[in-house]
Amino acid sequence: MWVLDRPAVLLALLIVPFLIYARHFWKNRGGTLSFPFGVWGARGFVPPPSFLASLIAISSVLFWLGVVVMVVALASPQRVTRERSFLTRGADIMLVLDQSPTMAARDFQPVNRFEAARGVVRRFVALRENDPIGLVGFGAEASLRVPPTVDYEHLLRVLDEMQILEMGDGTAIGMGLAVAALHLESSQAPRKAIVLLTDGINNAGEIQPETAARAARSLGIEVYVVGIGSGEEVEIELRDPESGRLLRGTVRDGFDESALRTIAEQGGGRYYYAGSNTALQAVFDTIDTVERVEQRSLLRVVREPYDQLLILVGLALILFDFLIRRLVVREIL
């Protein structure tokens, strides 16, 4: 929204028409010399239209436009935006994303499971305002990618950089949960949650998923588990992040639904199955609704001034008129 901080200053524009008359039309104005050219009683001399006359007219228009623009700058034009500051803390949420090779299965048409998961995570983050969200990636190993933060721009940038297979060929679900729990341990948030997305069976890492889920629960963290995959034989295509080689094949799903349910139960949370893009979105919509904390916020008004730009534009227009009159028209006064 645009506002003027001192709108009364615009009253000065009322004298502009009088100044225009005085400068261009007033017969008795100074700075001009009058010469009689016609016969007494006949029509006066009217100079024919010329390029110079047109140029003077354009230059004059630009001059007065510059004056108007500078008067508007004096009225302090500002762009006003409202900024919301949150007085309360939101829920801390750690997203734990499976980066094992089977996530390249193309049963979430038109993309693969990993891309589908990435898409719903993006939408999930976009709906949040004040909830610190973190990111853990796991394959054969697990690693914290982003700690719980409200810097969603950074989070989404890191999310976009994640690739399948970069954490190795394996599925260390327990390690992923453990890393997530470690980074929520000292959190003072009123609600803490881990959302695990996986399509596989735990086959790597030193920590069992159930153990990690119990540990998370003891820290007051709820564990949501989302099992994704269609359960059928599907094509798989991925690029090795180290060698750049394109790998193709097929995979028949292998996640143990009962094991994932157990993890969710041990973590005091819930298990969801998502066999398609739509289902995955619906699951995240549900989690989004559940993991909400009542927030109090303050609306601040932020004013961004735009006078400087107008001053420079006005100055440029008036200088242009000056140059035309001195260089082209060759005015002496």
Partner: protein, 329 residues
């Protein structure tokens, strides 16, 4: 008094060509006015032309001068603005250029800087911290978070290899620091800038103005000594110049002092024995004072004064020409 856009003051140089054109017009006009006004006394005509030209030209030059000063965003004086915040967000911008590996501050400027960050975060556990690294460009190494475990992990991995672009662009560092402060934050905000101040590139004026307007002070920590130390090459040897002599890096406080002054921050020295306590106390005190007083002081922009003078001068320049004097012109 501060100037928000000092580069725009170069516009005053426009006075030179304007003056040249005005003098040219004067010299030509003095001859032509006599030819055109043959029915008036010659001396009177010339005198009147000189007077009118002088005041009209002077007023136009003043218009140009005041307009440039208005555009340069000059501020002086301060006024209180309500500041209703609680808590503290700290963004640390660390110079990770190769010169920060010099060991005039032991074990190295960079290692000591990171150790200070670690210690300060432990002394102010309630504060959220973010970490930005900068060389030729800047990147967020740790987004704003209260996860102290994550901070420890990131600090262990900070080094010159993190960023490929060479140089030391402090403007990029400050801009990334500003970006990493979320607008939804209700906490007081402060930036800690750690650098040896040597061979800095970029123009920090823009980010400094924004930091000042938003009331975000920069605690500048100068890493290194005036005597300096050789810069390690990374392979156990030292960096050599074209003539085979060791490159010595010396700490330069000039820009860091300016950054601190313009944002109502402080300049500290990394080698000081009490740097951790001093920095932690200053950050905590800053938040405490703001919370207690409930307001902060912002600089008052004076562009309206200069713009008004500019428009008055333009009106005078016009008026001198428009008013017919002594029945002549």
């Amino acid at each position: 008094m501060t100037i928000g856009e000092p580069a725009l003051l170069l516009g005053i140089l426009l006075l030179l060509p304007v003056l040249v054109l005005q003098v040219r017009a004067f010299l030509r006009g003095r001859r032509e006015i006599v030819l055109l006004g043959t029915h008036w006394p010659r001396e009177q005509v010339q005198r009147l032309f000189v007077v009118k030209w002088f005041f009209s030209a002077l007023a136009f030059d003043l218009f140009l001068l005041f307009a440039v000063l208005a555009a340069a965003d000059i501020t002086w004086g301060e006024q209180p603005v309500e500041e209703d915040r609680a808590g503290l967000d700290i963004v640390v911008a660390v110079d990770v250029s190769r010169s920060m590996l010099a060991s005039d501050v032991e074990p190295s400027r960079l290692a000591r800087s990171l150790a200070v960050v670690r210690s300060v975060s432990r002394q102010i556990p309630a504060a959220r911290m973010a970490l930005v690294g900068f060389k030729g460009e800047a990147t967020t190494l740790l987004p704003l978070t209260d996860d102290s475990n994550a901070l420890e992990i990131v600090l262990d991995g900070v080094g010159p290899a993190l960023i490929s672009a060479p140089g030391t662009n402090v403007e990029a560092g400050l801009r990334e620091a500003i970006r990493s402060i979320p607008e939804t934050s209700f906490a007081h905000r402060a930036v800690v800038l750690m650098s040896d101040g040597e061979a800095l590139s970029g123009d920090p004026e823009g980010p400094l103005t924004e930091l000042r307007m938003r009331g975000i002070p920069v605690m500048a920590v100068l890493a290194g000594t005036a005597d300096g130390a050789p810069v390690p090459a990374g392979d156990g040897t030292t960096l050599l110049d074209e003539e085979g002599r060791p490159v010595v890096s010396r700490a330069n406080p000039t820009l860091l002092a300016r950054v601190a002054t313009q944002t109502d921050g402080t300049l500290l020295r990394l080698e000081a024995l009490d740097i951790v306590t001093d920095l932690a106390n200053r950050l905590s005190e800053f938040a405490r004072v703001r919370e207690r007083e409930g307001f902060r002081l912002v600089p008052v922009r004076r562009y309206r004064f200069f713009l008004t003078m500019s428009l008055i001068a333009l009106a005078v320049s016009l008026g001198v020409r428009l008013v017919r004097w002594r029945g002549m012109f």
